[in-house]
C-alpha cells in the first residue's frame, strides 16, 4: 500500500490542536520553529488554536526591532496567519498583566482569556504541543 492510501484513510479526521508558545521570541529557536510548525500544520485542515502565555506574549509585541541582535524579525509573520486560516489566537490576562502589556501592544487581534478560561480551553484539546 502506498502512503497516499494511508493519508486518504485519515483525511476525514479533524483534531483539536493547541500550540502553546511560552518563550520570548529571540534567544532560543522555539518561537520561530513553533511558528513554522503551525504554518505547516495549517495545510492539513486541522482545528488549530495558538496560545501565547508567559514570555510567549512578547512574540506578539508591536515594534520589534532585531537589527541590534542580527536575527530575522519574524513578528510580521503572525499577521499572515489569518491567510492560512488560523484565526484562533489566545493570550492570558495574567501574562499580559505581569509584563505591563495590554492588547494594544500586540501586532495581531487576540482573544484574552482568564486563567479559568484558559484551563477549559486546554481541556478541550486533543493535542497540546508546547514551544
Amino acid at each position: 500500500m502506498s502512503d497516499m492510501d494511508m493519508e486518504d484513510d485519515g483525511s476525514g479526521i479533524v483534531k483539536k490542536f493547541m500550540f502553546l508558545n511560552r518563550k520570548a521570541p529571540h534567544g532560543t529557536v522555539y518561537a520561530l520553529e513553533g511558528l513554522e510548525v503551525v504554518l505547516i500544520t495549517a495545510a492539513f485542515d486541522q482545528d488549530v488554536s495558538l496560545v501565547f502565555t508567559d514570555d510567549g506574549v512578547y512574540q506578539l509585541m508591536k515594534g520589534i526591532d532585531t537589527k541590534g541582535i542580527e536575527v530575522k524579525d519574524f513578528s510580521k509573520t503572525y499577521r499572515a496567519l489569518d491567510g492560512y486560516d488560523i484565526e484562533k489566537l489566545y493570550v492570558d490576562q495574567s501574562s499580559l498583566d505581569a509584563r505591563g502589556l495590554t492588547e494594544d501592544d500586540l501586532i495581531v487581534d487576540v482573544t484574552v482569556l482568564s486563567d479559568d478560561e484558559m484551563k477549559n480551553l486546554m481541556d478541550e484539546q486533543d493535542v497540546v504541543i508546547s514551544f
Binding site: 504554518l39 505547516i40 495545510a43 510580521k76 499577521r79 499572515a80 492560512y84
Partner: protein, 111 residues
C-alpha cells in the same frame, strides 16, 4: 554555498538555486533565474513576482501555494487567483518557480 555570476555580480544561492541574501535580488537576477527555470517572462509573470515580493515584505515569509492563490484572487481577481492560471505561468509550481525567481526562500510548508 554555490555562487553564480549574474550581470557581473556574484550572488550566493543554496543547493536548490534559491537566493541566500534576499537583498541581492534585482531584475537581472530574476531574469537569470527565469531562464534557468525555462520560464518565458511576460507581464503576467512579473505581476505574480511583484505580488510575491510585496507579500514577503509584508509578512516575512514565502506563502504556501494555497495561500498565494487565495491572496492573488483577492487582489487581482478570481480569473488570476486559481491554480490553472498560476500553473500555466509556472508549470513546475508557483511556489517553487515563482518564489525562486522573486528571490524568496522556498515556502514554509512546501513539501
Amino acid at each position: 554555498m554555490p555562487m553564480v555570476n549574474i550581470a557581473g555580480k556574484d550572488v550566493e544561492v543554496d543547493e536548490e538555486g534559491y537566493l541566500i541574501d534576499l537583498s541581492q535580488w534585482n531584475e537581472d537576477v530574476a531574469k537569470h533565474m527565469a531562464v534557468e527555470e525555462k520560464v518565458d517572462m511576460t507581464e503576467n509573470h512579473w505581476e505574480v513576482i511583484n505580488f510575491l515580493r510585496e507579500y514577503y515584505d509584508e509578512y516575512q515569509i514565502a506563502p504556501a501555494v494555497r495561500v498565494l492563490t487565495k491572496a492573488i484572487g483577492k487582489k487581482l481577481g478570481p480569473e488570476k487567483g486559481n491554480n490553472k492560471y498560476l500553473y500555466e505561468l509556472f508549470p513546475y509550481g508557483p511556489a517553487k518557480q515563482a518564489c525562486k525567481i522573486a528571490g524568496l526562500p522556498k515556502p514554509t510548508g512546501c513539501i
